[in-house]
């Protein structure tokens, strides 16, 4: 009966090369689960290297796809695209995932956590992110979003017997679900009025003519993603979640998960609603100004390093949002997209590095207080120098990566040339000076304060952590001194279908 109703159905031709990263991840996840079932507890350690091989394995096709000159690969009736934008972001997710695995390795072993399940969840979340980078359809965007979020809720609550970790998980879950609901409501409105879930078609339908119901749909979706990227005033879950979750999970949430939120936001805005910029531009202007200002001001008075980094991550999100406040103006779209991608790359490298240092130091001091960094330079100059570099990068001081991210964001604002754009640029400028107030606090502790309790036993850096430190610091330095190289790799402005192109 049913088959008679769908006579025209033919199986889609699948570009296996284009799907290879997802397939390797999915296959790897299955393998992990099976191994976890059958391997004796004493041998569970092999799951760690296996997880990292899976992630690196998935990275290989990303590279080959980037090097092949096939242009944009379109799958499933243009609902799933492999373009330069998605490849760069997939690379970012997979490498961040690899660094998070490095950060987690010793942490898991020491804490006797449930290794198999942890890797399963981490890789599943990564798979969701990788899919997100290619999704060009409301349904696949939503599925990817849930696929990447739900494992993250559980990872945040990973320390089962720690109340704070439970709180982290619950808060993250409740607000995350609330945001999904909002977004879903917006999506259903969109589907109802346009009759399609495909972003390109929605964009054609929406045009520039805005009725209130269309504006409402766009608004709901933007707000839903604002939760995901923890933009003020939708940021309240972030500090508690970041502080309560295990540190490697926090690193994962603040970098990869946040980047995934931005990827979805950018895709929806650029491909789906380019004509509705009268709705989203002012929203992003306000979100961006609020996010960086409130994030910065609240970060200033934190005494716990992870909580401070949570607010710092909120504030950084404000900078990433800046270009979106002008992205609808003629000729700005490309530079806005480039700015966001650049910023995400730089931010990922730097912030993961910061968390690596935080883990190294916490292992020695057993404390999350900023004051525990006192005198770090005197007994661990190498670690302190790396931390200095990462902090300088977050503060946007050349020659470390961060400056170029800020530069690109300012550039796209100024290229818009409107009064509002200049105003936001100046707010951003003031904020980047204010931000040094708290990044500088860490520097002051490390370089200028005495060692607390005179405890100068050296820090130990496990090999997996040191690999993470090397990767992140080299990336931070290269992105800052030769930003042309990573940007040269492909025109990252290549988001297929953006602005009707």
């Amino acid at each position: 009966m049913l088959s008679a109703l769908a006579p025209a159905w033919t199986s889609p031709t699948i570009d296996y090369h284009a799907l290879a990263p997802e397939m390797i991840l999915a296959g790897g996840i299955v393998l992990l689960v099976l191994l976890d079932l059958f391997v004796a507890d004493a041998k569970k350690w092999i799951l760690t290297p296996l997880a990292s091989f899976i992630v690196l394995g998935a990275f290989i096709p990303v590279l080959t796809l980037a090097l092949s000159d096939g242009g944009v690969r379109s799958l499933f009736d243009d609902r799933y695209m492999v373009d330069n934008f998605s490849l760069v972001m997939k690379g970012l997710f997979l490498l961040s995932g690899y660094v998070v695995i490095l950060l987690t390795a010793d942490h898991l072993r020491e804490g006797d956590y449930y290794q198999g399940e942890y890797w399963f969840l981490l890789l599943t979340s990564l798979l969701g992110m990788v899919m997100m980078a290619s999704s060009r359809d409301l349904v696949s965007i939503f599925v990817s979003l849930e696929l990447l979020s739900i494992p993250a809720y559980m990872m945040a609550a990973w320390r089962k017997r720690d109340l704070r970790s439970n709180e982290a998980g619950i808060k993250y879950y409740l607000l995350g679900v609330f945001a999904s609901a909002l977004m879903l409501y917006g999506m259903s409105l969109l589907y109802g009025i346009s009759g399609s879930t495909k972003l390109v078609e929605i964009s054609k339908y929406l045009g520039t003519d805005l009725t209130s119901v269309r504006a409402l749909a766009v608004f709901f979706i933007v707000v839903g993603f604002a939760f995901k990227v923890s933009a003020v005033p939708f940021h309240t879950w972030a500090p508690d979640t970041y502080q309560g979750a295990p540190t490697p999970v926090t690193a994962f949430l603040s970098v990869a998960s946040k980047a995934a939120g931005f990827v979805a936001l950018v895709t929806v805005i650029f491909v789906g609603f380019p004509g509705s910029h009268d709705v989203w531009q002012p929203v992003f202007w306000i979100l961006s100004a609020l996010t960086m200002t409130v994030g910065n001001v609240l970060a200033l008075k934190q005494t716990n390093i992870v909580r401070m980094l949570a607010y710092s991550s909120v504030a950084q999100g404000g900078f990433i949002l800046m270009p979106l406040a002008v992205a609808g103006i003629d000729g700005v779209a490309n530079s806005a997209l480039r700015a966001i991608v650049t910023y995400l790359l730089v931010y990922a490298a730097t912030n993961l590095g910061v968390f690596a240092v935080v883990m190294v130091v916490a292992r020695k001091t057993r404390s999350g207080e900023i004051s525990s960094y006192g005198g770090l330079f005197s007994y661990a100059p190498g670690i302190a120098t790396l931390m200095t570099m990462f902090m300088a990068s977050l503060a946007g001081i050349p020659p470390f990566g961060g400056w170029f991210g800020k530069f690109a964001a300012f550039q796209s604002l100024v290229s818009a040339g409107t009064t509002w754009a200049y105003a936001l640029a100046i707010i951003g400028g003031i904020n980047s000076a204010v931000a040094f107030g708290y990044y500088g606090k860490i520097l002051r502790e490390m370089w200028m304060k005495p060692v607390p309790d005179g405890d100068t036993t050296p820090v130990t850096v496990y090999s997996s952590l040191s690999v993470a430190l090397v990767i992140t610091s080299v990336a931070t330095l290269v992105l800052g001194t030769f930003p042309g190289i990573p940007l040269h790799f492909g025109d990252i402005a290549g988001l297929a279908g953006a602005f009707g192109k």
């Binding site: 200095t388 001081i397 400056w403 170029f404 040094f436 200028m448």
Partner: protein
């Protein structure tokens, strides 16, 4: 832009050689301080040797043109390139930065301030050197920005770690001020980039096309740059970080700060803001002049009120940079030459004064003027050197300070066409009064510290005899070149003016004079 010489590698090598030294030093164990110092000094000496070679190869007949020009791809996505060159304006400052770094390092041989760690201290100085030299040769605004900012962190740590009691406050203030200024400066650079057609960040390109920007827009862009550079100079009312930074910084930090870092701001005006935005410069000139003379008087009055020798010298810096900015604000070749000369002279003289202050502090463990006295009796050589520098600083003819100050005042008599003559003549009179005040505070300082008998607590036999000794070997090595330069440029200023003048002429092409 033709390449005048095949030696266009010299600038790159001269700028980045210190970083090679840093790399080597990273592998030296912290405990081996002598080796760290030796490698650092060796690097600085090698850098200076490259600098000397640059001076020798420089074509002085074409001092107005960019030489040793090199251009390579850097960040092509944003149309910025690695574009460097050197002309008569950059050469003296570029070279001075190398000399000062080497001398400061030699001075530090037995003067590494508390809490020690010579390796880190020397590494920071080498990084500073790269940032300073790079700023003076950058021909691309993004490159300029990167070098301009590169000096921030090393100086922050130098003040914050090796400084005096109030070092953390001072270092943070220094940092926040500069950071705020450079954020606005960056926005201004970007606006400039887009208003000239978003084609290039190269300074020559911008000079060619900047003049076509609408006057109102120019004024706003200039305002952004003004904040960035004025904080660095520092001009009144952005100067308040300077006395704190100088007072709290270790001697080495003060010397580098006074001799070179302040010049990054004035250099920015001369190289970037004024030639690229001539219309805006004309509108801003009277205001810059006003702030400059306020700075002169304010700085001088501040000096008279100080009880701390180092703080007094810091305030005198505010006054001296006021003369430099006054010269620049006239937009005449005469004033600009004076300003450029003043920058170098101030670098030599105030650098020396901070050296002396550091040595006084080391001997007496205080810089409080009323506790000091009779230096000439206890340490005649140091006392004479202080006197010599004070004379140079107050602008005594025959010493370098005179040629920065006097022509700058004189230039305000006849500012560039289009500027209000009366206003500038008033500035001239006020600035002239400033010199009287300068003579007042410097001579008073000298009289109180050097003349008379040593105060009781420091008199012979009161437990300070071991510390109180005259100029030592390392101090002589570090100071002699500066002292000689002060005399040579004082007696024969033409030596520098002939290098500066052609380049100044090119810079002021838009003003017809």
């Amino acid at each position: 832009m033709e390449v005048l010489s095949d030696h266009n590698w010299v600038l790159t090598v001269g700028t980045f050689l210190p970083l090679v030294g840093v790399l080597i030093m990273l592998f030296i164990p912290k405990a081996d301080e002598a080796l760290s110092k030796a490698v650092a000094i060796g690097t600085a000496a090698a850098t200076l040797a490259v600098g000397v070679f640059t001076m020798v190869q420089f074509n002085y007949d074409k001092a107005g043109e960019m030489q040793f020009v090199a251009q390579a791809e850097w960040i092509s996505v944003i149309k910025s390139s690695y574009f460097i060159g050197l002309d008569g304006i950059s050469l003296p400052l570029y070279f001075l930065s190398m000399v000062i770094t080497l001398l400061v390092m030699i001075y530090s041989w037995n003067h590494v301030p508390s809490p020690g760690n010579a390796k880190a201290f020397y590494i920071l100085m080498l990084v500073l050197q790269t940032g300073m030299a790079g700023t003076f040769i950058a021909r691309d605004l993004v490159l300029f920005f990167v070098f301009f900012e590169l000096v921030l962190l090393p100086m922050y740590f130098m003040i914050g770690v090796w400084g005096g009691e109030n070092r953390q406050y001072a270092s943070l203030k220094f940092f926040l001020y500069t950071m705020f200024g450079s954020a606005l400066m960056l926005v201004a650079f970007l606006a400039l980039f887009f208003k000239t057609g978003a084609e290039s960040f190269a300074i020559p390109f911008l000079i060619e096309n900047g003049g076509a920007i609408a006057k109102n827009t120019q004024i706003w862009i200039f305002a952004g740059m003004f904040v960035g550079f004025a904080v660095k100079v520092p001009m009144f009312p952005f100067h308040t970080w300077l006395p704190d930074a100088h007072t709290q910084a270790p001697t080495q930090g003060s010397v580098i700060l006074a001799a070179i870092l302040l010049k990054l701001g004035t250099y920015g005006f001369v190289r970037i803001a004024i030639p690229i935005l001539p219309e805006a410069a004309k509108e801003w000139a009277p205001w810059i002049g006003l702030l400059a003379v306020i700075g002169i008087i304010y700085g001088a009055l501040g000096c008279l009120a100080q009880t701390d020798m180092k703080r007094l010298i810091a305030f005198s810096s505010v006054a001296h940079m006021g003369y430099v900015m006054l010269g620049i604000s006239t937009l005449t070749s005469f004033g600009m030459n004076a300003a450029m000369f003043g920058m170098v002279a101030h670098g030599l003289i105030t650098g020396m004064l901070f050296f002396v202050a550091g040595s006084v502090k080391e001997r007496y463990h205080t810089l409080e003027i009323k506790r000091l006295s009779g230096m000439l009796v206890q340490m005649p050589k140091l006392g004479w050197i202080l006197g010599f520098c004070a004379m140079a600083s107050l602008g005594l003819p025959g010493l370098a300070g005179f040629w920065g100050e006097f022509p700058a005042i004189l230039s305000a008599y006849q500012p560039a066409p289009g500027l209000n003559v009366t206003v500038f003549r008033v500035y001239m009179v006020v600035a002239a009064i400033g010199t009287v005040l300068a003579a007042g505070y410097l001579l008073w300082l000298y009289q109180r510290t050097a003349f008379g008998e040593p105060t009781e607590e420091f008199a012979a036999g009161h437990g300070h005899d071991e510390d109180i000794h005259d100029v030592n070997k390392f101090e002589w090595i570090a100071w002699t070149p500066l002292l000689i330069a002060i005399v040579v440029f004082g007696v024969y200023p033409q030596l520098m003016f002939q290098v500066l003048d052609p380049a100044v002429g090119v810079t002021l092409k838009a003003f017809g004079g």
